[in-house]
Amino acid sequence: MSHDIHPYIGFEEYSEHVPQSIPLAVQQATTRFVGGRAARVAELPQWEQLRQIGSDIRQHTLENMDVHLTRLEEKVEQAGGHVHWAKTAEEACRIVLQIAKDHNVRTAVKSKSMATEEIELNGALEAAGIRAIETDLGEYIIQLAGTGPSHIIVPAVHLTKEEIAALFSQHLGIDAPADPIELARIARETLRAEFLNAEMGISGGNFLIAETGTLVIVTNEGNGRMCSTMPDLHVAVVGIDKVIPDWESLTVFLKLLARSATGQKLSTYTQFITGPRRAEGEFGPKEFHLVLLDNGRSNILRDPVGRDVLKCIRCGACANVCPVYKNVGGFAYGSFISGPIGAILSPQMLGTPTARELPYASTLCGACADVCPVKIPIPTILRHLRRRVAQGDEFAASTMPIPIRVTAMFASIALAWNWVYRLGARLLPIINPFFRKNDWLSGLPYPLNRWTKVRPLPPFTATFRKWWNVRSAKWKDSTR
């Protein structure tokens, strides 16, 4: 997804037309996850210490990412795996397609992966005539429905069991009952056949351990295990930010991840994959490929404030507590990642022209920062990005409408010099008679009509300083 092709993200426009079912469903999920997380956190007296260590290690990893990535590549290759580097989303898709072509792949099974959503791999595979089947139950459902995810952990939470039954009936040519357990059984059987017959398994990855070149995949359903065990070819597409130094560090993140995400102590299956299978009888792929995806991440590292977004371990806790997310759901964020973390990642990855509304999709209440397992200062980054949107900086140009920029520029001059401010305060009342209606000003000319169109403005009076002088004199008297 390069900067020039991603469509503009109209958060405000979307959020004005959210279907009522979305906040209801999303809040059922978030309430469950917030409760589960709180229970797990209460069990662990060293939770805050764990968060601090998690944050410190992620910080360290970002600051030394080049060294860890170099080591990772060396170790994966030593273990018999193939490493590919993708500068952009297009390049990553091209690499995966080439691997697929080299192995005559007709069907690929996929486990849930944000990186492949980010590069829109499914579209690229379909265009090349390769079936790409999502196998996480929620992802499978939304693939059938042809929509995006409404929640990071439970992507199809906005659909009712009746809607899902209708989808299954339509696509599988069966009469599916509206019963979650029965629907899961149908999906199990349908996807079982795909797992056994697919020539390629595609996954993302939760962590990459530089020490041994190990890919760590965390899932609950077991589809991640299927994708990396059944086909003879396993391709993992993983962002370069997923690297961590060593196994000892991993203990910290495994303890933080599931507790923050679903309120489990550990997710059901955690796999640690170092290269392809060693013996035929053990199962597992004959070939293992790791596609390391940059897609803007190495540029984000340039910004010492914004780059903390790359500490994220994708648990979704920030979204679960966000009052804005809970009312608009995942679609509003217009990209593969939603919630507060999406609001600080998308503008940096896609550019502020595309995602300039997202830093404002927040009340700055700070709940996200309180629950973040690696202590990303999300409100600080939101404010930083708002400044970037408004003023521009060395990383991005301003994208504010010109009238607001000009007004802000005049305001910054007027407020910076005492005499300009005083002069302005004296001069402004001159315009009062032209626009005054009763006690208010109305119908000011462009661009000031942006204000007076919706609400009246009190007349300009240069009395604040006088008022202040009298007040402060009185105050001095009373304290003398």
Binding site: V67, L69, I181, L196
Partner: protein, 208 residues
């Protein structure tokens, strides 16, 4: 070899190829083990919380427990890890004598997928989370704990480790590990917890 991604990471961080690695921040102290009995209790308790079935058995009770399981779960076809310990317990003989069809653990995936039961050991156990840690090799194929609808793990107290730290220190050079914490689960449809969506629906853990 020149690598544009690493080069750009270096540029962004102001590093060169010679920049040395700084030591990473220190990590907290791992959990310490408690008495074996309380570790076992904790472990089996967690399995139960995860909707698995965990129980303690004497070696002599394995025979009858297995027969009960076969009858209750209507097991016709099974596959078993070929490890010394499982051989010693005579698992394949018991299955044979009960008329269960045995599939080689190295058989093709299609045949393995038809099995009702997969029997494994574990390499390590984590009491705090009720986790089984399995390494893989030709004698211990990954599919046995994944494809059959029921997974039975027969484990021993000496597999217990207090924390992940010890497991990783011992096993990090092995090429494939999996942590199994309860049966396969999902809550993707209306948040209804459903077991056995892709992996096994039932998990039995016998501490012998």
């Amino acid at each position: 070899m020149n690598n544009p991604v690493i080069d750009n990471v270096r540029r962004s961080l102001g590093h060169t190829a010679q920049t040395p690695l700084v030591a990473r921040p220190a990590i907290y102290k791992p959990r310490l083990p408690e008495a074996v009995d309380s570790e076992i209790e904790c472990f089996l308790g967690e399995i139960k919380k995860l909707s698995g079935v965990g129980q303690r058995l004497a070696s002599s009770e394995v025979d009858s427990a297995l027969q009960t399981l076969l009858a209750e779960q209507n097991i016709r076809k099974a596959t078993v890890w070929e490890t010394p310990h499982l051989r010693q317990l005579g698992i394949t003989e018991i299955l044979n004598s009960c008329g269960v069809e045995l599939v080689s653990p190295n058989a093709g995936k299609h045949e393995m997928a038809l099995c009702d039961l997969g029997v494994t050991e574990a390499d390590y156990l984590l009491p705090e989370t009720g986790t089984l840690v399995l390494r893989s090799s030709a004698e211990r194929p990954r599919a046995v704990s994944l494809l059959p609808r029921i997974h039975l793990a027969i484990v021993r107290p000496e597999m217990l480790r207090a924390d992940m730290h010890q497991v990783f220190a011992e096993a990090k050079d092995h090429h494939y590990l999996v942590f199994i914490t309860g049966p396969s689960r999902t809550a993707d449809i209306e948040l209804t917890v459903t077991l056995g969506v892709h992996g096994p629906r039932n998990l039995f853990v016998w501490m012998v």
